[in-house]
């Protein structure tokens, strides 16, 4: 069989190639082309899974600077990459259906997929940085081309927050290698040459800023609601934006192994911030009257859980955080698309339109099931994630776990209230007749839901994939 070492590289760059090919494909075949590329990418991910991880591929990229091209997909990164490939495929499906003349949007989705897969595969800090920023450009272009009236403000806010964090991270990256004396930026080398003492804390803070923006973590979250609100009504850029919340993963893969002492030292503060983020954003979500903003805050609340799990440095909690990070993409993304479908039918994103369930039963039913997944009802993948996070965090800090635990109640409150005022209640007089799900829309909402249920009932495959990776990362902490 083909050497699995090279599979991640093909998987990363295939979508980029596809996004370029789309422009030379005749208009009528563009949908099929993009769908085919996205499906093959997902297939490559499954092949890597089947091969049991890809193994590390390391090439000298810029020898004079010690920058390597090191990629590997295994464990947590493989799980996230597969979810990314899956949701990109779903996004392509919906873009082909929803957007007239979708060539540009399809190209941007695929270009962004390259950046995202690269983020998960990179095992070199500079390479990680490069992919981290590469995903930014397509995301900005989606907002610029397809966004709403006030998109420039949202765009500048989003870009400024991201770059503020990532440039500080760049300084940290330079510092990590120079002060630690590592020959290259490859993670394996950096782990052998850790920076010690107070310098480690400072470098961690630089790294943390970038990851906190991308988690997002309060108080660096302000870009998120505007970003989602101003993006295209269909919710496709929001799916990609949700996948781009890689802060938890970055902290897990790079920050814990490279800054073990600083992670322990700052643990109480960061866990506090994470628990506060979860609760605060659930509270804010309760007051939202726009579905996109509500979804933004709901996603932020999930990210608070992810952060709580990662910062707690407890094995159960970290596994739970990674599980939640991977699978919330499914239902958060699908919910954005369901909001897009509602908007397509009634022309509004308001949460108080009322009565959709009477004529669009399947749309309402699937949306409700996805909301149940989102608020972590047992039987869905989100439950395993949130429960493990709380279980692990409780062992570290019972009170913070309690605060975060309240969030699950708040989540039920905001989600079900908004669902009720949109889908139940009386249809206002003269409201348009709402068409139910047709054609691929069934797949677009059904497939993510099916996967979320599958991994909620039978979590062993995903847990077996993640557990060894989490153990090896946490072993850097030394017997914790």
């Amino acid at each position: 069989m083909f050497d699995p070492q090279w599979l991640p590289t093909i998987m990363i760059f295939l979508p980029l190639l596809g996004s370029l090919l789309i422009f030379v494909t005749p208009n009528r075949w563009r949908d099929e082309m993009a769908g085919f590329i996205a499906a093959v990418t997902l297939g490559l991910g499954l092949m890597i899974w089947y091969a049991g991880g890809s193994g590390l591929l390391s090439l000298n990229w810029i020898p004079a600077l010690g920058i390597t091209y090191s990629v590997e997909l295994s464990g947590v990164s493989l799980a996230l990459a597969m979810v990314t490939a899956f949701m990109s495929f779903i996004a392509v499906l919906y873009a082909a259906r929803r957007i007239p003349n979708p060539g540009t949007m399809l190209a941007l989705i695929l270009a962004m997929e390259t950046g995202l897969l690269g983020i998960f595969a990179a095992r070199d800090l500079i390479l990680f940085y490069v992919f981290f920023e590469d995903a930014l450009l397509p995301s900005l272009l989606m907002l610029a081309i397809y966004g709403k009236a006030h998109r420039m403000r949202a765009l500048v806010k989003f870009a400024a927050y991201t770059l503020f964090g990532s440039l500080l991270m760049l300084v940290s990256i330079i510092g990590v290698r120079y002060l630690g004396g590592s020959p290259t930026f490859a993670l394996v080398d950096l782990k052998q040459h850790l920076v010690t003492g107070p310098a480690q804390t400072w470098l961690y803070l630089g790294f943390l800023t970038a990851m906190a923006v991308k988690l997002p973590l309060w108080p660096l979250h302000a870009w998120l609601p505007d970003f989602h609100e101003q993006n295209h009504d269909s919710g496709i850029p929001d799916v990609m934006g949700t996948l781009y919340k890689v802060g938890g993963y970055g902290l897990f893969t790079f920050a814990i192994p490279l800054f073990p002492d600083a992670s322990l030292e700052l643990r109480p503060i960061l866990m506090g911030l994470a628990a506060f983020t979860a609760l605060y954003s659930a509270w804010v979500a309760f007051g939202q009257k726009d579905w996109k903003r509500l979804m933004a805050y709901a996603g932020l609340s999930h990210m608070g859980f992810v952060a709580l799990g990662v910062f707690s440095l407890n094995e159960t909690a970290v596994i739970g955080a990674m599980y939640l990070l991977a699978f919330q993409n499914l239902y958060t993304g699908a919910l954005f698309l369901s909001v897009g479908m509602v908007q397509e039918r009634i022309g509004s994103l308001d949460t108080r339109v009322g009565g959709l369930m009477t004529s669009a039963g399947a749309l309402g039913g699937l949306t409700m099931a996805l909301w149940f997944a989102s608020i972590a009802v047992p039987g869905f993948a989100g439950f395993i994630g949130e429960f493990s996070v709380l279980l692990g965090a409780y062992q570290v800090s019972p009170w913070l776990a309690f605060v975060a635990g309240i969030t699950t109640i708040a989540a039920a409150a905001y989600a079900l209230t908004a669902f009720q005022t949109t889908f139940w209640q009386a249809r206002p007089l003269g409201g348009v007749v709402v068409r139910d799900l047709v054609h691929t829309e069934w797949l677009i909402l059904g497939l993510p839901l099916a996967v979320a249920i599958f991994f909620g009932v039978y979590s062993a495959p995903a847990l077996n994939l993640m557990q060894p990776a989490v153990r090896s990362v946490l072993s850097a902490l030394g017997g914790n």
Binding site: E133, M152, A160, F164, V171
Partner: protein, 487 residues
């Protein structure tokens, strides 16, 4: 009976400069009989030949005039960068000079004289040769800035001349001080003297510090270092866009090359200047980026962006000669390519010499897709976004400053880069926003020489961004830069 010694004149190391000078002389003389476009083509040929002759002297460390002129590898690498900028300017001028009303032979002649001066700075082995080169470059530059014959251009030229002359005067004063302190004008000899400061009596150290600070101020005028940058936005935005392209790439590269020779070579070990330079760099980063953020005119924004980039480039000078020199060598080429291509698009699409307002750029992608994509690639690269080469330039500059102990400068540069990102991104994203109002740019601007220039720039920054080694492996050899410092 004193023996008459023949001066040491080797022509081979002079060849690149002489070729460019030939182009200048041909433009001056033939200008009476042939049209400017023919001259431009001739000049393009001489520039390419000059580049080829640089390959000929690569790795041979030839000198001429007893060390007054040095064709070492540093000179060749920076000289090639200058020629790339010149080539881009010449190509763009083929299309736009007639619209800018500067299409006469003197324009080409002046530009080639300026390039001669630039190369002289790059190849200089002592302070006098550097000064002569700088004066040739500056005088030709003042004329170029005024050439257009509009009130704005006249204002721009006069401002450039008055402030440039002050800068030159300060520089000459600095040279005198350094000579007084060390007794030599030759870089290597100065470096040898300064390297063992014990040779200098305490009085002389004071003079040396004074001299190096005066030199710093003089160069500060030429590279637009805050607070000596006041002329830059007015001159760059007032002059014709082709001249703007030339002044902000070629002339700036030459001035940086001079600084590298003086501060990265002769005065590396001299006390005092580095701590002043770090303050000036910090001020440049803050003021350049903040001011660019407030601009509404694209041309003027690019002028301020040139100031801001001076800050990033100057960070390289704060590094050790090995790291800083390599970083500067890489960044200057990338800077030339991205600024050149961006201004080429501006020159092609603007209706008047005032450039266009940033708000006029809305929807450009739907009217000129290729140029809009190229311009946004250049802007993304200027902003330092990977996978474009500007990212590695910035990274190298950060690294050079960080590893020489200027951690706070690199943090400050990171924070100010956020402002840079915003002002580059706003026009870049505006171009992709659909627009229903009539076009406000020149509709017939897409011509093949400009397209070639833009393509060259975009291909350059993309290739150098994905495979930085293509150029970095040439400039990375530490021996090149240690040689400057006489080690």
């Amino acid at each position: 009976m004193p023996q008459l010694v023949a001066p040491d004149v080797a022509l081979l190391p002079l060849l690149p400069i002489l070729l460019v000078l030939t182009g200048a002389l041909i433009s001056t003389l033939l200008g009476f009989w042939v049209g400017r476009r023919v001259l431009t083509v001739i000049n393009i040929v001489t520039v390419v030949l000059s580049g080829a002759s640089m390959m000929l002297v690569w790795n041979r460390n030839l000198t001429s005039f007893a060390g007054g002129l040095q064709a070492d590898n540093a000179a060749i690498l920076l000289g090639l960068t200058i020629l790339v900028g010149t080539l881009m300017t010449l190509l763009v001028s083929l299309d736009t000079a007639w619209r800018e009303r500067v299409s006469f032979p003197e324009f080409d002649a002046m530009m080639m004289y300026a390039v001669t001066g630039c190369l002289l700075i790059v190849f200089s082995g002592d302070l006098i040769v550097m000064l002569i080169g700088l004066e040739i470059m500056s005088l030709a530059g003042y004329v170029l800035a005024t050439f257009q014959g509009s009130r704005r251009a006249e204002e721009s030229g006069l401002k450039y001349f008055l402030l440039g002359a002050v800068g030159s005067a300060i520089l000459i004063y600095g040279i005198a001080f350094v000579y007084g302190a060390t007794g030599s004008l030759n870089y290597a000899a100065i470096a040898a003297k300064v390297g063992s400061v014990s040779n200098l009596t305490p009085d002389n150290v004071g003079i040396l510090v004074g001299g190096s600070l005066l030199l710093l101020a003089g160069f500060g005028f030429k590279i637009a270092l805050v607070p000596f940058h006041q002329w830059t936005p007015d001159v760059y935005s007032g002059t014709s866009t082709t001249t703007f392209l030339f002044l902000s790439t070629v002339v700036k590269v030459a001035a940086f090359a001079g600084m590298l020779r003086v501060f990265g070579g002769a005065l590396t070990d001299a006390p005092g200047w580095a701590s002043v330079l770090q303050v000036l760099t910090a001020a440049t980063l803050i003021i350049g980026n903040t001011a660019a953020l407030l601009q509404t005119n694209f041309k003027r924004m690019m002028a301020y962006s040139a100031v801001a980039h001076t800050g990033f480039l100057a960070m390289c000078l704060l590094g050790t000669p090995e790291l800083g020199g390599a970083a500067l060598g890489y960044y200057l080429l990338v800077y030339t390519l991205m600024t050149g291509a961006a201004l080429a698009v501006l020159a092609a699409l603007q209706r008047t010499e005032a450039g266009f307002e940033i708000s006029d750029m809305r929807g450009l992608y739907y009217r000129h897709p290729a140029y809009a994509i190229a311009l946004s690639v250049c802007l993304a690269s200027l902003a330092g976004l990977p996978p474009f080469a500007g990212f590695f330039g910035k990274y190298l500059a950060f690294q050079a400053a960080f590893q020489n102990g200027y951690v706070w400068i690199s943090v400050l540069a990171a924070v100010t880069s956020v402002a840079a990102l915003i002002y580059y991104l706003r026009p870049a994203m505006l171009m992709f926003m659909p627009d229903r109002t009539p076009a406000r740019e020149y509709l017939h601007g897409q011509r093949s020489p400009t397209t070639f220039t833009v393509g060259l720039g975009v291909a350059g920054i993309t290739v150098l961004g994905i495979l930085p080694n293509v150029w970095y492996s040439w400039v990375a050899n530490p021996a090149i830069w240690q040689f400057l410092a006489g080690r």
